[in-house]
């Protein structure tokens, strides 16, 4: 008898406590419906990043609170959300680029979202047919030059041009093994020269590259310190100098072969429990926030209705945009990197 009483008591306690806890859980779910967590890469969240401004505007407009988390770079974010798959913290991830998309698809993290705002976005930029990743801005890789160091006759007009011996030790490149911008150039050369020809371009560049840095930051730092007059960056880089420094000294060179494109995307995590609020945030990012995103990120907006400030006159849009299929990249990247390393480390 006593045994049974004890059992019943234990069961009763369990029942009551589970009721109390489940009720508590429900309550927090309702109140925290009003807060979503957004992972974004570092530059998005701070300094001149667009994050703080658009979060304030979004909160004022919708009443939904946004917890903006600066979660490293795109790869770190992917590793992070993949690690949290069973224990999700975030609802939206901002900043996976198109050339990394295959990795995001493979991890099966994102849920398709056919946002009504996609109607205003050129089909060319919508790289994911299933809409798991939606484009919010894009840029073109380009070589930026220092107009005080290069005479007009010396401004390169093509990738081919850059291999000319007159550029000996004048170019700053970035390692594709350790940097997404560096990877951008590797893909650019494959887009232009194909798998047969890209390695000879790199071979020819060996003596023209002053150094091949590990990341964009070091390369651009060396460039603005005047170590070399040409650096791998984006067509939009001059916008920063015009807007924040009032200087037109640094300009981007347009190349006749066309420029490789990188598209930054936003994705709704399948594990999110606040999808409605999260979708509102995505829509906001693709409409009202476009100007802020473009100016702060120094990228082009995807929404064709966006009117850009005059500083963007210094960021000429290339006539030809190039890109590779995400699956082809996923399949071959490792081999390309190995081939590249073998050629360049000799």
């Amino acid at each position: 008898m006593i045994k049974h009483q004890r059992l019943i008591a234990v069961l009763a306690i369990l029942l009551v406590s589970s009721l109390v806890f489940s009720q508590g859980k429900k309550e927090t779910e309702i109140s925290s419906q009003q807060e979503i967590t957004v992972y974004a890469y570092d530059a998005f969240c701070g300094d001149w990043g667009p994050g703080p401004t658009i979060v304030t505007e979004f909160e004022a407009k919708t009443g939904i609170r946004v917890n903006l988390v600066s979660a490293g770079d795109a790869i770190e974010m992917l590793i992070k959300v993949r690690g949290e798959k069973n224990n999700p913290l975030a609802d939206v991830v901002v900043g996976i680029s198109d050339d990394m998309a295959a990795k995001a698809y493979a991890a099966d993290l994102f849920e398709p979202y056919d946002s009504p705002t996609l109607a205003d976005i050129p089909a060319l930029l919508q790289f994911d047919p299933q809409n798991r990743l939606l484009p919010f801005d894009y840029g073109n890789f380009a070589f930026v030059y220092d107009s005080e160091k290069l005479s007009p006759a010396m401004i390169p007009t093509s990738l081919d041009d850059l291999t000319d011996p007159k550029y000996k030790n004048k170019v700053l490149l970035i390692d594709p093994r350790t940097s997404s911008v560096g990877l951008g150039l590797l893909l650019w050369t494959i887009e232009v020269y194909g798998e047969e020809g890209y390695l000879s371009w790199w071979k020819a560049m060996k003596s023209n590259a002053l150094t091949i840095t590990e990341g964009w930051s070091s390369a651009y730092g060396l460039f603005t310190e005047g170590e070399a007059p040409l650096v791998l960056s984006y067509t939009t880089s001059p916008v920063y100098h015009v807007t924040y420094e009032g200087s037109t000294r640094y300009r981007s060179a347009l190349f006749t072969e066309g420029h490789s494109t990188t598209i930054e995307s936003v994705g709704l995590l399948a594990s999110s429990k606040k999808k409605d609020a999260a979708k509102l945030f995505i829509d906001f990012l693709l409409t009202d926030a476009q100007l802020d995103v473009a100016t702060a990120n120094s990228m082009y907006p995807v929404n064709s209705g966006t009117v850009l400030p005059p500083a963007f006159d210094w960021a000429p849009k290339p006539e030809k945009s190039l890109s590779l299929d995400a699956l082809a990249i996923e399949k071959n990247l490792d081999r390309w990197l190995t081939e590249w390393t073998q050629v360049m480390s000799r």
């Binding site: 992070k80 690690g83 310190e225 990247l333 490792d334």
Partner: protein, 571 residues
């Protein structure tokens, strides 16, 4: 009689055993939980393929000609950098240990500074000073009206060695001079009395006596250069100087091939461990007990001859310029901002006004003061906790025997593993623990401890091994408890080494970024984290301003701890 002695020994030994055995437990636990367990999980990926457990990846990595070529280069540059650091450091250590002169403490304090600067800022400082368009070249070009920059040292193998020496020779100088200072001069005096020349005395007597501290410092430098990353790529000039760390990074991050990365770092780990075991062995063989010299007799001298004075001066000026050049470049850049539309730069407090929130800056700049407070708190805590923990590990390691050798290797392991792999390990921890801010702080402090332990250990161990066992035995024989002996005899004798170790722990924590970024979940901002983000968004000068604050604060802290070492170190 004999058996009585034995029994006596055992009795004393038995009483001590409990105390000394318990000593290394806390340190070992921290290392185990925060380093070994995550490392085990990360590295186990090397054996896991889609078909389950397999050794194929290991076999592939360990026999690939490419891997071996990279390994050989990594070892080569690390060995050369270590040699250069030791050679540059020895004269400095000699000066610091044997002479007393004005500004000595300042030099010691300053020499720890390169350590707190994140490597990306070191690279920038180097380029601003030594670069083709750098201060040095501009000065020389103006002086001699040259067309081309005369010093073209960057972007070559030489630059890697130069930058590594800049970063590391101060460690050697600091460690060796601390050890040297407390060495008595009896042997040398005897040699001189017997007619040996100074050079010969140094070669045959002083150098062998210094060997344990030199080897200890060289081990640290070697491992540091072995895992070097940004410096090698940027200043070396590109992929022809690929090291193991770069390949591990590529596999882990760009290719997201955690198995390949694990196999490669396992390979790397095996090689460095073999080297470490060899180092430890040779260090133990060379270690001998020395009389502790606390008198300042060694230090009362000033350079005697004119030649000596000139040499001391030349060395001091050259090294000071070498250390100060890149550091001063960072400081100078922080006071420059473009004021006009033409883009010309002039002297300005702009970045500092933003730092101290006197002018509306941007998100990151505004939180700089908070970050400084965080960094100082974390670093102070790390220093205060790491020194006792390393000390307790040292009590066990100092003895001869297999267990202590294993423990020593264990304590050094965090230095042998690539920061990328450690970072992956921390992901595992961070993902398992739902971190609130206070938990985040604890994890960051613990992670910094793990990183600092090898350094503090390397500082304390040579000094500890030098300590004559007779001191401890007499204390025990006279009836003092082991605890009393430890606190009243051992710790006071180790004080200077402990303070030096504490400075290293502080400096490492102030400059640490990888672990902080992964563990802190962006809830905790430290100075290097903000600096890193500023650089990532075009604001190099803002980062230089933060770097200047970091340099200033660290110099003050190091100066204070030099003063705390007390009177034996000269003025």
């Amino acid at each position: 009689m004999d058996t009585g002695d034995e029994q006596m020994k055992q009795k004393v030994g038995g009483e001590n055993k409990g105390f000394y055995k318990a000593m290394p437990v806390p340190g070992a636990l921290v290392l185990l939980a925060l380093f070994l367990v995550p490392l085990f999980f990360t590295l186990s990926a090397a054996f896991l393929t889609e078909e389950g457990f397999s050794l194929s990846r290991i076999r592939e990595t360990f026999t690939s000609a490419y891997t071996i070529r990279i390994l050989l280069f990594t070892l080569y540059q690390a060995a050369l950098s270590t040699l250069a650091s030791v050679l540059v450091a020895l004269p400095g250590a000699y000066l610091l240990a044997n002479y007393s002169f004005r500004g000595k403490r300042f030099i010691r304090a300053l020499s720890t500074v390169p350590f707190v600067i994140p490597s990306i800022l070191v690279v920038l400082g180097f380029v601003i000073f030594f670069g083709n368009n750098g201060f040095l070249n501009q000065l020389l070009m103006k002086l001699f009206t040259l067309e081309q920059p005369p010093i073209q040292i960057l972007y070559s193998f030489k630059a890697i060695i130069l930058a590594h020496t800049f970063f590391n020779f101060p460690i050697v100088m600091n460690l060796v001079s601390t050890y040297w200072e407390h060495m008595d001069t009896h042997c040398e005096m005897a040699a001189w009395t017997l007619g040996a020349k100074r050079g010969r005395t140094f070669r045959t007597i002083t150098l062998p006596r210094l060997a344990p501290s030199i080897i200890s410092a060289a081990t640290l430098v070697f491992l540091f250069c072995y895992n070097s990353f940004a410096i090698i790529l940027v200043l070396g000039g590109g992929p022809q100087f690929t090291t193991m760390e770069v390949e591990i990074y590529r596999l882990a991050r760009t290719s997201m091939d955690s198995g390949g990365a694990a196999a490669l770092s396992l390979f790397s780990l095996v090689i460095t461990s073999v080297l470490l075991v060899w180092y430890n062995k040779s260090q133990k063989m060379l270690a001998r007990s020395e009389e502790y010299n606390s008198s300042s007799a060694r230090l009362s001298k000033k350079p005697a001859t004119l030649a000596g004075k000139v040499l001391a001066l030349v060395y001091s000026v050259a090294t000071l310029l070498f250390i100060m050049g890149p550091i001063a470049s960072i400081v100078v850049r922080s006071f420059m901002a473009s004021a006009t539309r033409s883009g010309g730069e002039s002297f300005s407090f702009k970045w500092y006004r933003q730092l101290f929130a006197l002018e509306r800056g941007t998100g990151h700049m505004g939180s700089a003061l908070q970050a400084l407070t965080n960094s100082l708190l974390i670093a102070a805590l790390v220093a205060v906790v790491t020194v006792p923990i390393a000390l307790t590990l040292a009590t066990a390691i100092r003895k001869k025997g297999f267990a202590s050798s294993a423990l020593e290797l264990f304590g050094m392991l965090p230095m042998t593993v690539s920061s990328v792999i450690i970072g992956l390990g921390y992901y595992l921890i961070a993902n398992r623990i739902r971190a609130g801010v206070s938990v985040g702080y604890t994890l960051v402090v613990l992670a910094h401890m793990v990183i600092a332990i090898p350094f503090v250990l390397r500082t304390i161990l040579p000094e500890y091994r030098k300590m004559p066992l007779s001191y401890i035995q007499s204390s025990l024989t006279l009836g003092a408890t082991p605890l009393r002996t430890f606190f009243l005899i051992e710790i006071p004798l180790l004080r200077a080494a402990m303070i030096t170790g504490g400075m290293f722990a502080f400096a490492l924590s102030m400059g640490e970024i990888t672990a902080t970024l992964t563990l802190a979940n962006s809830a905790i901002i430290t100075l290097p984290v903000i600096m890193y983000r500023l650089i990532g968004s075009y604001n190099f000068q803002g980062a230089c301003a933060l770097g200047t604050v970091l340099i200033l604060v660290s110099t003050i802290v190091f100066l204070v701890s030099e003063l705390a070492k007390g009177g034996t170190n000269g003025r």
